[in-house]
């Protein structure tokens, strides 16, 4: 699945997108608010959906080579987080859907779990 395909599926807003979202490929999905769980289990070029909204989300994504983050329930990253994401070329999306619904929509569209 491409990052640009996730946007309409989740009624998401692209908060930061590099110019390669048309070709940036996502192989799996992960939904968690606990960054240590993400660090323990995630692999294979995933999108991370989270209700946590602080700079450690961006850093966790950086360490795991996660190239796309989705903030659920309408949460929005602040300027500092957007800057961190820009420096690391990580796409940021915001969706009004809850975690459960957002994960379900992507799963239904064919994205699998990464762990």
């Amino acid at each position: 699945m491409l990052v640009k395909e996730i946007i309409p599926l989740l009624d998401a807003e692209l908060i930061y997108g590099s110019d390669d979202i048309d070709i940036r490929e996502i192989h799996s999905g992960c939904g968690s608010d606990m960054m240590s769980d993400v660090l323990a289990f995630v692999k294979d070029q995933p999108v991370l959906l989270t209700g946590l909204c602080n700079p450690q989300v961006i850093r966790t994504a950086e360490m795991m080579d996660i190239m796309c983050l989705v903030f659920v329930r309408g949460k929005r990253p602040d300027e500092k987080m957007i800057e961190l994401a820009r420096e690391r070329n990580i796409c940021l999306l915001a969706t009004p859907h809850t975690m459960f619904t957002a994960c379900g929509l992507l799963y239904k569209a064919g994205l699998v779990g990464g762990a």
């Binding site: 660090l39 946590l52 602080n54 450690q56 950086e62 360490m63």
Partner: protein
């Protein structure tokens, strides 16, 4: 050894939002050195969890990193309270982190288990009231 690179990071516990800066810097350096992505990821995760631990539990500390063509060694030294029961601390899910840390996305009791999982060798020396030194080695492959 002339092929050894030494790096040193001071980890401050004053600002949680800055936790991870040392790991981020090390990751970039290893990438620039052409170390394989899998190895870079293992080092980054192990170091990041260790760095977070220092911030949460030990009021910061110093991380010294040695990079040779064969391996990356990270020595995380703090002057924190020490670990009373290492076996318990190594259990996945066991945590002594305060609730405010959980609201920041950590404190799931996965820190030390993750550090062990992603390093090829890990050694913990700890003394109550004196501090803890964790030495992790990741082989470069």
């Amino acid at each position: 050894m002339e092929d050894t690179i030494k790096l040193e990071y001071i980890v401050s516990a004053e600002d949680f939002t800055r936790a991870g800066e040392a790991s981020s810097d090390l990751k970039n350096i290893l990438k620039q050195m052409g170390v394989s992505p899998d190895t870079v990821r293992k080092v980054s995760i192990a170091m990041y969890e260790g760095e977070i631990n220092m911030v949460i539990h030990a009021n910061g500390g110093v991380i010294t990193v040695f990079v040779t063509p064969k391996e990356v060694t990270m020595i995380l030294k703090d002057s924190g309270p020490g670990i009373p029961d290492i076996d318990k601390a190594m259990q996945a899910g066991y945590s002594t982190a305060p609730d405010n840390i959980r609201s920041l996305g950590f404190g799931a009791g996965m820190g030390l288990p993750n550090m062990k999982k992603y390093s090829d060798d890990m050694k913990i020396e700890t003394e109550l009231g004196v501090g803890t030194t964790v030495t992790m080695t990741v082989r470069i492959c």
